[in-house]
Amino acid sequence: MNNGRLFAALLGTVTVALVAIGTVWPAPSASAYSGAGSMLRSSSTPEAAVENLGDEIRGQAWEKAYASLANKAQFTEPEFVKDLTGNYPSLLTYTTLDKFEVRPLHASTDEAELELKLHWATVVGLSVSTRDLHVVRNGDRWEPEWPIVRESKVPPQVIPVNYLRWDVIYRGSGDDWGSQDVEAPHVRIVDMHPVDRAEGVVILGELLNEDVVPAYVSVSATLLSKSQSPIATEGSFDKIDHLLLPKQVTPFLIQFHNVALADVGSIRMTPLSALIPASADPVIEIGSEELHPAPGASLTGQLINQSGQIVNVAHVLGTFYDKSGQVIWVADQYVDQALSPQTPVPFEIHIPQDLARSVSSQRTVVATYSFGGSQ
């Protein structure tokens, strides 16, 4: 009992001492975040100048970051901030810079080229963007030039939209419908293919809404052992387009970590569908889709919002097929900037290197989300 009290008193004393030390001699980063100081280094080299800029972007010290730029006369501070966080609410609006990497590309006595790789922590995971910065010497200091990318502005106009919208009226308590209600949408798994990967079993497939009403869909799978006992159950989570309009097809991917396909006797698939109010708008064109071979295998393309509504978040899902038309992989990417009407926005989906050679064709779908919108 006495030992316990002694230990508690000791812990309290040590805590108070550590707090006092931290207050009197704070770490540079803590001091910087509290606004009391800066952890920036002198911009005596191109790398230091870009690292300072990265630190300021991470601390959202927009004013300081803008002030440190050599080409700030070419744009305003709000334009600089919008270049980083987007003109319209998007994934980047609600993100912070997790870390950055600086890589020198070229240097001379008065100029240098550096690559700044920004790792944004978004609500759906990391989003990486890269900017090549030109850095110039100004006396004994180096100053980066920000490669501003101005989003094209859509001119003021009225875009008539007359696509369908579906609403659902469920049965009321006084209705003479017995136990009947509005039928759930009929969906069908049109393809399913388990593959053995280093990380475990992956189930790939495609789901079709074969009904005439929109459907909220998801798919779950249960792996059964050879004795038919369940091994594990997993869902597709966000590796699926959850909203399917009539006759629309979505790919899905379900991952089972630490399970070998050799241990699996059979798989029980459970597609789920529910009625959901939905709109056929917006329509997104997926243009210039191109498969790039390994190394760095990827599918690139651009999204063009054909409607008048701004799409805040776009989720691109790519389905990759081999020569026989079988699904061999499903990959996705969240586009971190909003889709303005008629404005192309690029996307890039990475394909596993070992599968890239087998990819013969692909199909891409886009799920869209609009803040305060109809979906």
Binding site: Q180, P246, I284
Partner: protein, 289 residues
């Protein structure tokens, strides 16, 4: 209510405990009683007693004068089932039982029709199941003929006659070739119940598009999209247009509007355009202008 039931059941337990006593009184019980009808129980002997009638859904308690007839008016017992009767007198207890049967006349149908929406031309796609009940929601186990009718505003009526077994009957119907709202009616005598079954178009059939120059673009327009029975595919159905050119692909998922889908895509000489909806492929066009 619960307290009263406990009291009655407690009294019943006491009465059963007295069953070993001398049985100099007797009780005349009906063998069966139709649910909701009046009935009587005759007793012999003299003095006062308490009569308990206990079933699964109902319990009756009545103070009676032995030697007289206890009358129970209509609707005293409405739940079908087996009832235990106990007559607890001061010196002895008698027990017996009788059955309450459903009335012979159907009054309610529980009609389950599935699904409420299905594609046209589906064989055995519609099922209907009926449970027949009397006025007091007792399942009528005696066989009864059920008529199932599925009628389309424009097509012929499908009709099936099915006898109930243990109070239930079921049937299977085909969806017709014509889209529309069908009425599915189950009828027993003059009692009927109606459900609505929506027959919707099936998959697109013979999907075809045309291409024409539109400035720097190619305008692709489908013919009116119909299923194999000629029903118009509903607006909102997604039609996928794909352009392939030099290893580059562009795709647009365009919902049908006014029965057709149209889109403008880049015009490249040698490009191939294809159209599909769901798992149905349409025609291909090679652009040579």
């Amino acid at each position: 209510m619960k307290a009263r039931l406990t009291l009655v059941l407690g009294g019943l337990a006491v009465a059963i405990a007295q069953m070993s006593c001398a049985q100099d009184e007797q009780m005349l019980l009906p063998k069966t009683v139709e649910a909701g009808s009046a009935f009587s129980i005759q007793s012999t002997g003299s003095g006062k007693a308490t009569l308990y009638i206990v079933g699964l859904g109902q319990v009756l308690k009545r103070d009676v004068q032995l030697g007289e007839t206890a009358f129970f008016p209509a609707e005293s017992l409405i739940s079908a089932g087996h009832y235990l009767v106990v007559l607890a007198g001061t010196s002895s207890t008698q027990n017996g039982s009788f059955d309450v049967l459903p009335t012979g006349k159907p009054a309610n149908l529980s009609f389950l029709a599935k699904p409420s929406r299905l594609p046209v031309g589906l064989r055995g796609g519609i099922t209907g199941a009926v449970y027949v009940f009397d006025d007091y929601r007792n399942l009528i186990a005696a066989p009864a003929q059920v008529s199932f009718e599925l009628s389309n505003p424009t097509g012929p009526v499908q009709k099936r006659l099915v006898m109930t077994r243990n109070g239930a009957a079921w049937t299977v119907m085909d969806s017709t070739a014509q889209q529309g709202i069908d009425k599915f009616v189950a009828r027993v005598d003059d009692v009927y119940s109606t459900r609505v079954v929506a027959q919707v178009p099936g998959d697109p059939c013979g999907l075809k598009m045309n291409a024409q120059q539109s400035g720097q673009q190619v305008r692709l327009v489908t013919d009116p999209v119909r299923d194999c029975s000629g029903n118009a595919i509903p607006d909102g159905t997604v039609v996928t247009f794909t352009e392939k050119y030099n290893g580059v692909q562009s795709t647009v998922d365009e919902p049908l509007k006014n029965g057709i889908a149209e889109v403008e895509m880049s015009a490249h000489t040698g490009a191939t355009f294809s159209v599909a909806s769901g798992i149905v492929m349409g025609n291909q066009i090679r652009w040579e202008k």
